[in-house]
């Protein structure tokens, strides 16, 4: 009889080759990954090139000074606190939208991503703006509160707009976990709390790792918020070197030092996130967990949401509205609608293609990293994250240098700008599909292939649909950050190219905060439209 092959899948698993399918990666996949890796390694080559031009004695003075240790300590304290606060916010939020019977999930999801669209300086000012002479508390209640500043002020302001990085990663992971595992744990007698700690949480570790890493790299490089909060960190030194000395050589050294810190973070995160088996190996079909009823905790959950969104979204909105109230109608209507439409179109014409390109590119790269672990794929993963960790100005200068040397015809074209954004922000798009692929494993595809599907069509029909949601989440992140990006746009945009972010800068650079407010508000509205669209699309599966 030929019952043997059919019975085989039911047999207890012995040595599953979970990550490594029988064949190696397709040459096209390797070639693509190779190109991306080269593109991402070039900025490092550029930084080294500049760093080597420096006078050794001066380098010693800049690199080996005791104050750097203090700055490093402050930087690490800030990173630690932001990670802790972001986790406290993002984990409950992700659980509420993915697992509970909260209702209005889409709305809550949109609101949870939106803070990312708020420019850092607006968030910092919103918090500072509650206190002080012209502050809301003084205007509304006659209270002059002390201003938030230092470590706590900086950590608070940063958390309020970067927690969505972690939220999106966690939510995608929670939605992708097979409920059967948790139900089994319950049936074996674990309490719901214990199931969460011992079964659910470990499965979220890769999502934590990518979210934490992106937040860490962001915090390492931020200058705007920490400066407004009067907290001295390492990026102070880099910012001063570029912006005050107009110097590329020593700034390259400082950037490399920052990257060394970033590399440690990347190493830690890949260690934490890798080497884990998340895929289900049992039989049957994975399905979503049934929504957990909130019951008596519902008011607590709602209070949490109101407090969070009130601070992260309400406060900046009120601040922007307050600034706008100072404007005369004449200055507010300075731009006609036609020009605004052009600015919108410009923002869209780079953010859209960059988001799509990063989302699409993330899939083959994630496949390579998850399914074909090798020295090369690990290197690729790390350079992707480090590419995001390179200070944007250094990244843009590297692109300038390379384009002028290799392809002067492409210099300051829209295509180059899109390419630069895609490479720089690729890490953001990579996290969610990477987690999803780890959760899927290769067995469903192997089953499809056993049923006669080819390599590509098995991937497309089996894994493809389950990748849609995480890819959309990753692309969305890229879109939102590109819309508010500045240094790369300054250097690489075509001449006369104005985006919403550069329009905001045209006022803030002259100290005209109030005049910038309508454009900052438009920037947030513009991003929210796309966040809304994306979440809608994602949910209409």
């Amino acid at each position: 009889m030929t019952a043997q092959p059919e019975a085989a899948p039911l047999a207890p698993p012995r040595r599953f080759r979970l990550r490594i399918p029988v064949h190696g990666p397709h040459p096209a996949l390797l070639a693509l990954a190779g190109l991306v890796a080269v593109g991402l390694l070039l900025p490092f080559a550029y930084l080294l090139l500049r760093a080597l031009e420096a006078d050794p004695a001066a380098v010693v003075g800049i690199v080996l000074r005791p104050r750097n240790l203090m700055l490093l300590g402050n930087t690490l304290a800030l990173v630690g606190l932001v990670l802790a606060l972001s986790t406290l916010v993002a984990l409950p939020l992700a659980w509420l939208t993915a697992r509970s019977d909260l209702g209005a999930r889409r709305l809550v999801t949109v609101l949870s991503v939106l803070p990312l669209a708020i420019p850092g300086y607006v968030m910092a000012y919103a918090l500072i703006g509650v206190s002080g002479y012209a502050g809301l508390a003084n205007t509304l209640f006659g209270l002059r509160l002390p201003r938030p500043e230092g470590l706590s002020g900086a950590a608070f302001a940063l958390t309020l707009y970067i927690f969505p990085y972690l939220f999106l990663n966690l939510r995608a992971a929670l939605l992708g976990t097979d409920a059967a595992l948790e139900e089994t744990a319950r049936s074996l007698g674990l309490s719901p709390g214990r199931v969460f700690l011992r079964v659910t949480l470990p499965q979220l570790i890769p999502a934590f790792a990518s979210g934490w890493l992106v937040i860490t790299l962001y915090v390492l490089g931020d200058f705007g918020v920490v400066a407004l909060m009067r907290y001295e960190v390492f990026s102070y030194a880099i910012f001063t070197q570029y912006s005050a000395a107009f110097d590329r050589t020593y700034a390259a050294w400082l950037s490399l030092m920052l990257l060394a810190v970033g590399a440690v973070a990347v190493g830690a995160a890949t260690y934490l996130g890798g080497r884990r088996r998340l895929a289900r190996i049992g039989t049957g079909v994975a399905r979503r967990a049934a929504p957990v009823p909130l019951g008596r905790l519902r008011p607590v959950a709602i209070a949490f949401l109101v407090l969070l969104f009130g601070t992260a979204l309400g406060l900046p909105t009120v601040t922007l509205a307050y600034w706008m109230s100072f404007l005369t109608t004449q200055s507010a209507a300075a731009d006609d609608l036609g020009e605004l439409a052009t600015v919108f179109a410009s923002s869209l014409s780079v953010a859209g293609p960059a988001a799509v390109a990063a989302g699409v590119l993330a899939v083959p790269l994630a496949v390579l990293m998850v399914r074909y672990p090798s020295g090369f794929s690990r290197l690729l993963e790390r350079t992707t994250y480090l590419g995001y960790g390179v200070p944007p100005l250094a990244f843009a200068l590297a692109m300038v240098f390379l384009t002028l040397s290799l392809a002067p015809f492409a210099y300051q074209t829209r295509a180059l700008l899109v390419l630069a954004f895609t490479l720089h922000f690729l890490a953001l798009a990579l996290g969610p599909p990477r987690t999803a692929l780890m959760q899927m494993g290769v067995r469903p595809e192997q089953a499809a292939r056993a049923l006669g599907y080819g390599r590509w069509s098995a991937f497309l029909h089996v894994s493809g649909p389950r990748l849609r949601r995480p890819v959309a989440a990753g692309a969305l992140l890229v879109f939102v950050v590109v819309v508010k990006e500045l240094p790369i746009t300054f250097l690489l945009a075509p001449p006369g190219f104005t985006t919403l972010a550069t329009r905001v800068f045209s006022y803030t650079s002259e100290g005209l905060l109030y005049e910038a407010a309508p454009y900052a508000a438009l920037l947030v509205v513009f991003s929210s439209l796309f966040v809304g669209l994306m979440v809608r699309y994602e949910g209409s599966r």
């Binding site: 003075g61 800049i62 000074r65 104050r67 206190s131 002080g132 002479y133 012209a134 002059r144 201003r147 400066a227 407004l228 009067r230 001295e232 102070y236 001063t240 570029y242 912006s243 005050a244 000395a245 107009f246 110097d247 590329r248 100072f326 052009t342 179109a345 410009s346 014409s349 859209g352 293609p353 100005l393 843009a396 200068l397 300038v400 240098f401 002028l404 300051q412 829209r414 500045l486 240094p487 300054f490 250097l491 945009a493 075509p494 001449p495 006369g496 104005t498 550069t502 329009r503 800068f505 045209s506 006022y507 803030t508 650079s509 002259e510 100290g511 005209l512 905060l513 109030y514 005049e515």
Partner: protein
């Protein structure tokens, strides 16, 4: 996405079509914000028939860009927000026609003629109307290191204008004196802020009583709120604390259209453009024939109070940064 690409391609096509027809154009790298100078640039285009392709950005970013591009730079004019960027780029600039700087008032003139100032500002002392009596105002910026002012003063060590002030301090009195003052200020609990505006807000908020700022920021707050609790004053005549600083333009040696660039520069230091700059930006005009905006010091007072420092001697930023690093301020 396809539609966006089409729309974008169309927009690009529309934007570039007139360029191909017009006889002349220049490329401008502007560290000054579009909000302030956009109208001025449009005015020049209308008057001269020369199209200006402007790349707006931070002065630091654009200066770094210009250095990176080297001889391949498409820029015909660089417009810096701070004198520091001009000093650093000076070796890369082509000399200007001698008449350009000859028209500029003496304190703002660049004798080397490698760039020209487009507007000027002074360093000044902002103070709280609520907590500072006239008798408490210091005669010199150096007095702020006295115990009387302990913990009451703000400054912005990462800000370009403050650093230019330190460079002037070094040029006039030497590195040792500058260092001694910085250390004394630091030990006196002087608080670091990001820039000029945040210092003024900190005074209004009661965090500090004094701030070392540029003269043209306070006007923006008082214009909206006549009761704004901050005022400003200059130090005694000739004191370093009243240092005059400039924003300005230069022509990179690699410029393709030097003639067009020179026309643009001539326009910027013409009477109408200078009047526009002082009226809209609260800064000082750089040619003697244009009266500073009401509320600014008259030109004679300005000449009297500012210390005698050659603004071209403020190029040694690297030395200043080294000093600030030694003291632990940046």
């Amino acid at each position: 996405m396809k539609q966006h690409f089409l729309a974008a391609a169309l927009a690009l096509g529309l934007a570039t079509a007139p360029t191909a027809l017009s006889a002349e154009e220049i490329t401008l790298y502007s560290g000054r914000g579009e909000a302030l100078v956009g109208a001025l640039i449009k005015q020049f285009e209308t008057e001269s028939g020369i199209k200006v392709n402007t790349r707006f950005g931070g002065s630091a970013e654009l200066a770094a860009l210009l250095q990176e591009e080297g001889a391949r730079s498409p820029a015909d004019v660089f417009w810096g927000q701070e004198g520091g960027s001009l000093s650093v780029l000076a070796p890369r600039f082509a000399p200007l026609p001698p008449a350009v700087n000859a028209a500029v008032a003496a304190p703002f003139r660049n004798d080397a003629n490698s760039w020209v100032a487009t507007s000027a500002r002074t360093r000044t002392l902002a103070y709280s109307k609520e907590r500072v009596k006239a008798a408490d105002l210091p005669a010199s910026v150096k007095d702020l290191a006295n115990p009387k002012y302990k913990g009451r003063v703000a400054w912005a060590p990462t800000n370009g204008s403050f650093q230019a002030f330190v460079t002037a301090f070094r040029a006039l009195e030497g590195d040792a004196a500058a260092k001694a003052w910085l250390v004394a200020m630091k030990d006196n609990g002087t608080k670091a802020y990001r820039n000029n505006g945040t210092q003024i807000e900190a005074i209004a908020n009661g965090e500090v009583d004094f701030g070392l700022v540029n003269n043209y920021y306070l006007g923006r707050y008082t214009a909206r709120d006549a009761n704004y609790p901050v005022s400003q004053t200059h130090f005694a005549a000739g004191d370093l604390g009243n240092l005059a600083l400039v924003a300005g333009v230069g022509i990179p040696a690699s410029a393709d259209n030097k003639a067009g660039a020179e026309k643009f520069i001539a326009f910027l230091i013409s009477k109408p453009a200078q009047t526009f700059i002082t009226d809209k930006g609260n800064e000082y005009p750089v040619i003697p024939g244009v009266p500073p905006k009401a509320g600014l010091e008259p030109y004679e007072t300005l000449v009297k109070i500012t210390p005698k420092v050659d603004i071209s001697a403020l190029a040694d930023l690297e030395g200043t940064l080294k000093l600030l690093r030694e003291v632990g301020l940046i």
